[in-house]
């Protein structure tokens, strides 16, 4: 184990991983399993599963855990910083440069032209989430939940954080009641409902 390896591998995955989370995971997998043999496939899958289950950015969570696993607390710091710092600096640098010239009509034109493209990219991301929701919750429930969140957010102006918390709480309540029903039916209280495989 060396911190240099950790630094190099997470620097590489940070710089080469285009398009956020999903594109980086195969790269991290290659570095951790094939190249440096830090863990086996099973453990990596577990790391991915947990990173996916917790909120916030996925790749940074994986970098932290793998760094921690390889080199303790310092390893976690090294992997995390190597993963996020280079592109964070680059963004500050590029936008600083762009705004330094914001008197120029060319830069103004560039800034104006980017809005519709961003609108389209966000629309496509929204579509991805719609598809996932459609698959996970089914058609009817998806539409109902979309209408509820649209009403809360746009008509009543409820803060998004509150709407998300409400939805999480309602899912928790649903699970709680399902569990109770299941326990009553089986007469064998268990921690988890077994998942049909």
């Amino acid at each position: 184990m060396s911190f240099k390896d950790l630094f190099v591998s997470f620097f590489r995955t940070g710089i080469l991983g285009y398009g956020g989370g999903p594109s980086v995971i195969p790269l991290i997998r290659y570095e951790t399993i094939d190249k440096y043999n830090w863990m086996d496939d099973k453990e990596f899958t577990d790391v991915f599963a947990l990173a996916n289950a917790l909120p916030g950015p996925i790749a940074t969570k994986m970098a932290t855990y793998i760094g921690y696993r390889v080199g303790g607390a310092i390893g976690a710091m090294v992997a995390l910083l190597a993963h996020i710092m280079p592109t964070a600096f680059l963004l500050i640098f590029i936008l600083g440069g762009l705004y330094a010239f914001n008197q120029s009509s060319i830069v103004m034109g560039m800034i104006i032209a980017v809005s519709p493209v961003i609108g389209m990219m966000l629309g496509l991301m929204a579509y991805e989430f719609l598809k996932k929701s459609w698959k996970g919750l089914g058609k009817t429930l998806s539409i109902v939940m979309i209408l509820i969140s649209l009403g809360l957010l746009q008509l009543l102006g409820v803060h998004p954080a509150i709407v998300i918390t409400l939805f999480i709480l309602s899912a928790c309540t649903k699970i709680f009641y399902q569990n109770r029903k299941y326990r009553k039916a089986s007469q064998h209280p268990t921690m988890n409902r077994s998942v049909g495989k």
């Binding site: 940070g14 710089i15 991983g17 285009y18 398009g19 577990d46 599963a49 289950a53 917790l54 909120p55 916030g56 950015p57 790749a59 940074t60 969570k61 932290t64 855990y65 976690a76 995390l80 993963h83 996020i84 592109t87 964070a88 680059l90 963004l91 830069v107 034109g109 800034i111 104006i112 032209a113 980017v114 809005s115 519709p116 493209v117 609108g119 389209m120 990219m121 966000l122 629309g123 496509l124 929204a126 989430f129 929701s133 996970g136 998806s142 939940m145 979309i146 969140s149 957010l153 746009q154 998004p160 954080a161 998300i164 939805f167 899912a171 928790c172 649903k174 988890n192 409902r193 998942v195």
Partner: protein, 176 residues
């Protein structure tokens, strides 16, 4: 005070951002543009565009830039810490119980329940950007850029960084 606000904003947005990077974007916007008014929607769009064109995780790039813009280098560091630390620590401590998470239907249920909200949030934000574009560059340029980028990304699968680059060139030539 400003440091506290920066920390709080990036802490709460990432705790609630289920589903990775994209789900945190509308939450960032709600706090940074609408609530605290640190950036205008246009500036937020610039940050999003360049962050999208660069490699690496999107949430950390955006939070470090916005933190820097609002409260200097220390703000940048605080925003980054707030973004990554809470869940990173949770990751290390909860890993012992990973089998519990994997087989549990709870987590899947939670993620599923948040997806419709995230979809709506992203859709509203997309609409706001298209309206802003319409107002500043007229409907012809907006239509060309929006449909052109859709065609490039979805039909011929051009890399997003190239699409952003292409729109910058278009703006420099036709909108300056």
């Amino acid at each position: 005070m400003i440091y506290l606000q920066v920390f709080w904003v990036f802490f709460i947005t990432n705790i609630l951002g289920y589903g990775g990077g994209p789900s945190t974007i509308p939450l960032f916007q709600a706090e940074v543009v609408e609530h605290y008014k640190w950036l205008t929607l246009k500036e937020f769009g610039d940050v999003l565009a360049i962050a999208n064109a660069l490699p690496g995780p999107i949430a950390t790039k955006m939070s470090s830039y916005i933190g820097y813009q609002v409260a200097g280098p220390l703000g940048s560091i605080l925003a980054l810490i707030a973004t990554v630390l809470p869940t990173a620590v949770a990751m290390v401590f909860l890993f012992k119980f990973v089998t519990l998470f994997k087989s549990s239907p709870y987590v899947k249920e939670l993620t599923k329940s948040v997806q419709p909200v995230v979809a709506v949030l992203l859709l509203v934000l997309a609409y706001q950007f298209l309206v802003a574009a319409w107002e500043s560059s007229g409907w012809i340029h907006t239509a060309i850029l929006a449909l052109g980028s859709f065609w490039a990304m979805e039909r011929i699968k051009v890399h997003p960084a190239l699409v952003i680059g292409g729109s910058l060139v278009y703006g420099a030539v036709f909108l300056s």
